[in-house]
């Protein structure tokens, strides 16, 4: 497939009087692991929400797997949405369901599998995200921050998506947990042949995971390349973001790994 998995063309977004995106263009090719970075309020999460169809842009076009997000009937829209999984920043687990039921939910919604198959598939997903079968009985309120992210990841993977979108996957995790989660995402991404787009401002995550980095600033994609090339771009935001003392330490560490 030469077609881009995500393609954003000439996107304009306005909230009231404020322009968030102006003429933004962005493509993600199949099999890539792209990190979208940018300062607070630069519209990263807005862009992500537009890609998954929760917000509509003021102007411009977004295509996922070469298809528009809206139009063409309920069946087509639903089929398209089943081809990508989303990990929300705070997990967005259904608090009234147990972990097991949370992961089983999208499978049950399909109404194609019997309970035995669903049980086996949920156990497999739990194992994939390195959780134990007994964790399935817990309620979301009883989980630690790291476990919430893992369960949310398992749920996002339940329908075998081709594209995975992660919003701040490591926010709220300690460095250890965050490292483990990053490793897990990378392994699963490779093993399942996923295309991954993650929104982050955690440089450790970014340096360890991403094959390419997109920098969102000044209402558009400022730079889009491998991390080594992006940090050489001469722009005040990029200098600030990547070349501060803390950041260069993070990048060095990755090179030593």
């Amino acid at each position: 497939m030469s077609e881009s998995v995500i393609s954003v063309r000439d996107l304009y977004t306005r909230f009231g009087e404020v322009w968030v995106h102006q003429g933004l263009n962005f493509e993600v090719a199949a099999g890539e692991l792209v990190a979208l970075v940018g300062g607070s309020g630069s519209g990263k999460t807005t862009l992500l929400r537009q890609m998954i169809g929760l917000l509509t842009p003021t102007r411009g076009e977004i295509r996922i797997f070469g298809e528009p997000l809206f139009g063409g009937g309920v069946a087509r829209e639903r089929a398209l949405r089943r081809r990508f999984g989303v990990l929300f920043q705070h997990g967005a687990l259904f608090s009234a369901f147990s972990v097991f039921d949370n992961i089983a939910f999208p499978l049950r919604e399909l109404k194609r599998f019997d309970e035995g198959t669903i049980h086996d598939l949920v156990m497999l997903k739990l194992e994939m995200v390195e959780l134990l079968p007994r964790h399935g009985d817990l309620m979301p309120a009883e989980l630690s921050g790291g476990m919430v992210k893992r369960v949310a990841l398992a749920r996002a993977l339940a329908l075998e998506p081709e594209l995975l979108l992660l919003d701040e996957p490591t926010s709220g995790l300690d460095p250890d947990r965050s490292d483990a989660f990053v490793r897990l995402t990378r392994t699963l991404g490779r093993e399942l042949g996923l295309t991954v787009l993650l929104v982050t401002h955690d440089l450790d995550t970014l340096a360890a995971l991403a094959t390419r980095v997109a920098v969102l600033a000044e209402h558009r994609i400022l730079a889009y390349d491998s991390i080594d090339k992006v940090i050489r771009v001469d722009h005040p935001f990029i200098r600030n973001f990547f070349l501060s003392e803390r950041s260069s330490r993070a990048l060095q560490n990755t090179h030593h790994r």
């Binding site: 089929a79 089943r82 081809r83 259904f94 608090s95 009234a96 399909l110 194609r112 599998f113 019997d114 035995g116 198959t117 049980h119 086996d120 598939l121 156990m123 497999l124 997903k125 739990l126 194992e127 994939m128 079968p133 309620m139 979301p140 309120a141 329908l159 075998e160 093993e191 399942l192």
Partner: protein, 376 residues
């Protein structure tokens, strides 16, 4: 894109050869999962079968799980598969756990256990409620020693939210009930020629009974549910824990102001609604029975002794305290999930209304000798 395909070739000497090809992914198999499962299971029991999976173009864990289950949770002895597909089966093997055992059969004691659990649950609720009431009393004692701790802003805010903002809706409902009551009574009274007694009926009924109960029902639905939901969400978002760590008493800051606010607002709302309902009744009486406003207003004090007004206001006070306490009780019981929030909000309103009706019945019995006009 070709869907999943199964081709079976029978070889008399080596057993059958099951060739699988096409896409075995969730999207491709979803529509015919049951049929495929049955077809595969037919051959899954055949131990001599050779499984040729080399033709499979794409395999994900859903597709692999379908095969795995058909094979009886183990790789078949004769299997041809690509290495990347074998890895998926290894993963499934690692994660494979038999489904949990069925729940134990029902015992004869189950009904007893259910009733007992309900009784214990009810008892715990009562204990918690009494503890909350006790805490409010302790808060009052604390405030007597340190009047500076009185949460003035919270009381004022609650008074505005549950008192002032409730005035339009209680007025509307009161006015309409007054009209309806007056209209229906007028139809009956006219038959007996007892037109003038409309004042007695409306006065007694509304001031002593209907006014306070009507307001209590509206406030329980309006402010009681809001208070429960507010406290519940504060529990879910750990705001109550944050308050506790700052050394702020949750009962003094959250529960006490609500109770005080409703204790002040409810008698006032009762007065307001009663007055409006009487106006409604008066208008209707004038239209139906030609009873002039002047006559109505003159007769009212003689028909209804002032004690009834005090009974009505006392009911308002008690109902207000009850509604606020019940709302806070259930709000603090919310566990951090959406289901619990909705269940407790429902329970809060239902319990508050029930308790209000029970308290009203107690009032009716306790005040049966007070405020009744002398027999004519």
């Amino acid at each position: 894109m070709p869907g999943p395909l199964i081709q079976v070739e029978q070889h008399p000497e080596v057993g059958c050869n099951v060739g699988l090809s096409g896409r075995w992914t969730l999207a491709a198999i979803a529509d015919e999962a049951a049929t495929l499962g049955r077809q595969l299971a037919e051959h899954g029991r055949d131990e001599d079968a050779t499984w040729d999976c080399l033709g499979i173009e794409a395999l994900d864990s859903a597709g692999a799980m379908l095969l795995w289950r058909a094979w009886g949770r183990a790789l078949p002895e004769l299997l041809l598969a690509r290495p990347e597909h074998l890895r998926i089966f290894e993963r499934i093997d690692a994660a494979d756990h038999e489904p949990p055992p069925a729940p134990p059969p029902r015992s004869l004691l189950d009904p007893v256990i259910t009733v007992g659990a309900a009784a214990i649950g009810f008892w715990r609720q009562v204990v918690d409620f009494v503890a909350l009431l006790g805490q409010i009393v302790l808060d009052c004692l604390h405030l007597l020693r340190l009047p500076g701790d009185l949460p003035r802003r919270e009381i004022s805010a609650n008074l505005y939210k549950s008192g002032v903002r409730a005035m339009p809706v209680t007025a509307l409902v009161g006015f309409l009930i007054g009209i309806v009551l007056s209209y229906l009574s007028a139809l009956q009274l006219r038959n007996f020629g007892a037109d003038v007694f409309i004042v007695n009926i409306l006065g007694m009924g509304i001031i002593r009974e209907l006014g306070p109960v009507l307001v209590a029902l509206l406030v329980a639905g309006r402010s009681g549910s809001a208070m429960t939901a507010q406290l519940g969400v504060m529990r879910v978002t750990e705001e109550i824990d944050a308050l506790a760590t700052m050394g702020v008493s949750r009962s003094l800051r959250l529960v006490f102001p609500k109770v005080v606010a409703l204790a002040i607002a409810m008698p006032l709302l009762t007065l307001w609604t009663t007055a409006i309902a009487l106006v409604g009744g008066m208008v209707s009486a004038q239209l139906q029975l030609d009873i002039s406003y002047g006559f109505f207003l003159q007769t009212l004090p003689r028909a209804v002794p002032a004690a009834n007004l005090w009974i009505g206001l006392a009911k308002g006070l008690v109902f207000g305290i009850l509604i606020a306490l019940v709302a806070c009780h259930f709000g603090l019981r919310v566990r951090p999930n959406t289901e619990s929030l909705s269940a407790n909000t429902t329970a809060s309103v239902v319990t508050a209304i029930t308790l209000v009706i029970i308290a009203d019945a107690i009032f009716a019995v306790a005040t049966r000798g007070i405020g009744l006009p002398r027999a004519i």
